[in-house]
């Protein structure tokens, strides 16, 4: 176990030496979503999103713990975990993908770069290929990303009981907001 970790660090060390500063990460990314209708507000935020991306390969990943989504109302948070996302069984949501054209972004030059990321989004144990538009902002050596996209609850087998059909939107708006550091 220790040997594996040492190898990982050594390998990381080598690639960091050869291609300085090509990997960035955060453990405090934010994902918030809105799933309400005119009848009820349903919003939640998770402030401990983990994300890593590699500027040389264009690969980018996000991982989030379902139990980390915070709602204003305790009962809503309970239902979200127990009934809808079944977070005991499926504790994480994960995205693995790639920038469509990472070479168009100059991570060393201040600016705002429009981008498209394509990959696999896994929620509630179901995977779907998604394409998400977003922007990368480079400012004073800090790289941040913002993206807004929508998902259909039925794509991830998230069932809305008939009794609350008017209160929960079948389409959920998701906002991802991350500020990265060099790995």
């Amino acid at each position: 176990m220790v040997r594996n970790i040492l190898f990982l660090i050594f390998a990381t060390g080598i690639s960091n030496h050869a291609f300085a500063q090509n990997r960035y990460y955060t453990k405090t990314g934010t994902i918030s979503f809105t799933a309400g209708t005119s009848l009820e507000d349903i919003d939640a935020t998770n402030k401990s999103v983990t994300s890593i991306f590699d500027t040389s390969t264009g690969q980018i990943e996000f991982a989030v713990l379902i139990k980390g989504f915070e709602f204003k109302r305790g009962l809503m948070q309970e239902h979200f975990n127990e009934n809808y996302l079944e977070s005991e069984k499926f504790p994480k949501a994960i995205f693995k993908g790639k920038f469509d054209d990472v070479n168009k972004i100059n991570f060393k030059k201040d600016g705002v770069y429009s981008t498209i990321v394509k990959g696999t989004l896994e929620i509630h144990n179901l995977k779907k290929e998604v394409q998400v538009q977003g922007s990368i902002k480079v400012h004073g050596g800090v790289i941040s990303s913002v993206s807004l996209f929508k998902i259909l609850l039925e794509d991830y087998a998230i069932k809305i009981p008939g009794a609350v059909k008017d209160k929960i939107s079948p389409t959920v708006e998701i906002k991802v907001d991350c500020t990265y550091k060099a790995l």
Binding site: L65, R73, P91
Partner: protein
């Protein structure tokens, strides 16, 4: 007849009030809860590394008091990271947003006790709704 009606009305009112109370109840506040476990950051990391599934069953959704040395503080995210004696894994402690007063007094190297709700493991083991267990 009147008495029965009054009692029925009372029951309905009480049920209604209780319903509204439940509906608006905020999620569990760690400040009002007793901890289920007290553990060092290093031991927590060891347990999760040895068996993530069993450790998740044991610790997720529970209130923990974790003792450890501060490795890093991120003020804008109201989050600090405790050293878990592991090169890759630390304990991410996400504080209540009104906890920045507590965070301002801390610095890397300080050994502290953090009380929070464990939400699971990504790379780090993550705790939400954190506060200092023993504020100085």
């Amino acid at each position: 007849m009147k008495k029965t009606l009054l009692i029925i009305l009372l029951v309905i009112t009480i049920t209604g009030i209780y319903g509204v109370y439940l509906f608006n109840k905020k999620p569990v506040d760690t400040r009002d809860q007793n901890a289920n476990f007290e553990i060092s950051a290093a031991d927590l990391v060891k347990e999760f590394s040895a068996n993530e599934e069993a450790s998740s069953k044991k610790y997720v959704d529970k209130i923990l008091i974790v003792t450890g040395e501060i490795k890093e503080i991120n003020m804008s995210a109201s989050t600090l990271f405790l050293d878990g004696s592991d090169p890759l894994i630390t304990i991410t402690c996400s504080f209540y947003t009104d906890g920045n007063d507590q965070l301002k007094k801390l610095k890397p190297g300080d050994v502290i006790e953090v009380k929070g709700k464990c939400t699971g493991k990504l790379i780090d083991i993550v705790m939400n709704n954190c506060i200092l267990a023993n504020p100085q």
